[in-house]
Amino acid sequence: MSGPAAVEPLESRRTAWYTGTVVEARPETGSARRLVLEVPDWPGNDAGQHLDVRLTAPDGYQAQRSYSIASAGPGSRVELAVDELPDGEVSPFLVEDVMIGDKLELHGPLGGYFVWMPQSVTHDPRPVQLIAGGSGVVPFLAMVRAHAEAGDPTPFRLLYAVRKPDDVFYRQELAQLAANGLQVDYVYSRTAPHDWPVPAGRITKEALAGFVIPASEKPRVYLCGSTGFVELIAGWLIELGHAAGDIRTERFGGK
């Protein structure tokens, strides 16, 4: 059967409530902020997993949201990059109000499917294509970091679609990884950098075909972004010959 039936074996990482202390906070883009948390008992997480953040008001009112983790592996440092939603409740707090030294309740690590593990674990030599729309790049940071850290021989390629240059998360780190061999392609839908060879515009199926590892190489594809972006790209990937069972998706937002 083609499809998401096979779940890869997971290392045992206990999902539980943890308390994290903010040890680093800095602007990531005009609307997003990077937060590094020190979580003393954190069991580590696989690349691509997420966690829930729970905020509690003085009267006991609580709000919970899920965020992808930008870090991976063992260790007590957990990194998030949160994009502020205009009408949001938790993201504006995390982007504007949280300060270094604050404590946050975290539940995780969560998710056992949208994860990447090194070839030494999966014994799968097929190349990996990552496709991000906007803040959907966050779980891929965990993956490209884990890939580099492990010295994994799997060919990796990242396609990153953003509206404008200022929206790029982890610009410097991605440039550094690209200099060390990671293939990164950018698509700008509204404004391109001034020296960019093509005008800004929405991605087309033809352009997509040129930016991804061809279906003939049977890449494992990870696709993360808004619902509209993921639906569009996943549909084109199928038309380009990629097997549905080779495409893992993570979506945010409604339709």
Partner: protein, 197 residues
């Protein structure tokens, strides 16, 4: 173990008693799927019930709908913390699909086009608790939301309401489905916050 988060007061202060703990009301309808959206024509669609002895019963699109469609209005709750309230749906109750099928099984694995699976106790699919649904909000279900048909089990977290459902397999043991193997709770009661294990 909860503690007050410094500086947090909350924005959506009105707490609707219909919302289970940890849930937030949404007006749009988020989409969560593990892979691409399958596109299935109702001409090709079929639904199969397999008993614990392996006996199978099949229905076409028209045959299944002919069992009798109900209108229901329910609240739905996703494990990713959003809920939609008072949502109108149309579908065939599981009671009508399983009527006349002999079984001693206690559990069911729902199967979908694309390979998704999820496990539910049989007695939680009966007595007006679950449907194979074709319409929501007054329109045919979009493929992104599981169309042409999805399971609807509104009293459990919505990953149990399998999109693109095409069959139920009756089973003696409570085998885990797709997300259940990946760390989600075997049962998934939103009022008990049975999210993960």
């Amino acid at each position: 173990m909860s503690f007050i988060t410094r500086g947090f007061s909350g924005r959506n202060r009105e707490r609707d008693p219909r919302l289970p703990p940890g849930q937030t009301k949404v007006e749009d309808w988020p989409v969560l799927s593990a892979g691409p959206t399958p596109k299935i024509s109702t001409d090709d669609w079929s639904f199969t019930v397999t008993t614990e002895t392996g006996a199978q019963t099949h229905w076409s699109w028209d045959e299944l709908r002919a069992l009798g469609i109900e209108d229901i209005t329910v609240d739905i709750h996703c494990v990713t913390h959003w809920s939609k309230l008072e949502m109108p749906w149309r579908g065939v109750p599981i009671d009508k699909i399983l009527a006349g099928i002999p079984t001693h099984a206690k559990y069911v694995m729902a199967h979908s086009y694309g390979g998704y699976t999820t496990n539910v106790p049989l007695d939680e699919l009966l007595n007006g608790q679950a449907w194979v649904a074709f319409e929501a909000d007054g329109a045919p279900l979009d493929p992104e939301h599981g169309g042409p048909a999805r399971l609807l089990v509104p009293h459990l977290y919505f990953w149990k309401s399998a999109k693109w459902v095409n069959g139920l397999t009756l089973m003696d043991s409570n085998d885990p489905g797709f997300w259940e193997q990946a760390g989600y709770n075997l049962h998934g009661d939103p009022w008990k916050e049975e999210r993960y294990w």
